[in-house]
Symmetry: C2
Subunit: 143 residues, 2 copies
DNA sequence: TATTGTTATACTCTATAACTATA
DNA sequence: TATAGTTATAGAGTATAACAATA
């Protein structure tokens, strides 16, 4: 096996990783302009408008403990961006829902996060389509 | 007009973003096994063995304030993973260098972070090569 | 007994502002 | 005057453990 070059999948992943870490400053600015901390922005982005979610699902998505989500949601709720609602089927569960204000902030943040960085925006039309198609196959038909 | 050509790039970027956020738990586990906080892991990954770096460069890379790096580096230095060295050319500057122990931890973390997730590892050989080639063009010849 | 969410605790991260030592 | 790094401060994030309510 070739020792000097890694497998194409590994190199591709490393390149994607490098692209992402290069965007940290931009991500920070997007959160900052919305007056959100990074975890708060992550929470908002994970909430779909009109589809409430148990707190524990958010903890899974953010890869953190349940006890953590309590504080993050407390602050979002204090700003009126998110609501806690009871779940009729299991009264231990609290469902999180975006408020109208929260949906607006989320839409703005989502829009800006979705803008590709120059490295991707500058690809040829053919390369962009190819990249999209391969990633669609990688992530599965539901994406 | 612009919409039809920028759409594939935008979708590709969103797919990459989804792929990354889906890996949060794994990133957390890698940091955890090395007994590093996420910022500490980020710092270690940004330091190249044998290539000392000014603290302010690390602050740029981590997209945080200089004052922050002080604490992060304090803890890495207390564990013997990193060293502060004077810069002869500008005595205000402190250069950060990995110790041998730090280089070992960094290599382990770097190796694990570089392993592609199933979605990428499961691509066909042709798709993997295509993905790599497009990303090489996107990120430039130096990558 | 197990699970969901909260609270208490201790530590880390974070930005801001003020400080120092250089430049 | 400006810059690199530190310190002080206040607030947010974080895991752990213990707890209440519910399953």
């Amino acid at each position: 096996m070739a020792a000097s070059t890694s497998a194409p999948a590994t190199e591709a992943w490393r390149l994607m990783h490098r692209l992402f870490t290069s965007q940290r400053r931009r991500f920070w600015e997007i959160a900052n302009e919305a007056e959100l901390s990074p975890p708060q922005m992550g929470a908002l982005l994970h909430l779909d408008p009109g589809r409430p979610l148990p707190m524990s699902d958010l903890a899974d998505a953010l890869a953190c403990d349940n006890s953590n989500v309590t504080g993050i949601v407390d602050r979002l709720e204090a700003r009126g961006l998110v609501e806690r609602r009871p779940d009729e089927r299991d009264r231990r569960v609290k469902m999180l829902a975006l408020t109208d204000a929260g949906a607006e902030v989320r839409a703005r943040v989502h829009e800006r996060m979705g803008q590709p960085p120059p490295a991707i925006a500058g690809l040829s039309a053919a390369d962009a389509r190819t990249l999209r198609d391969v990633l669609r196959r990688a992530l599965g038909p539901e994406n």
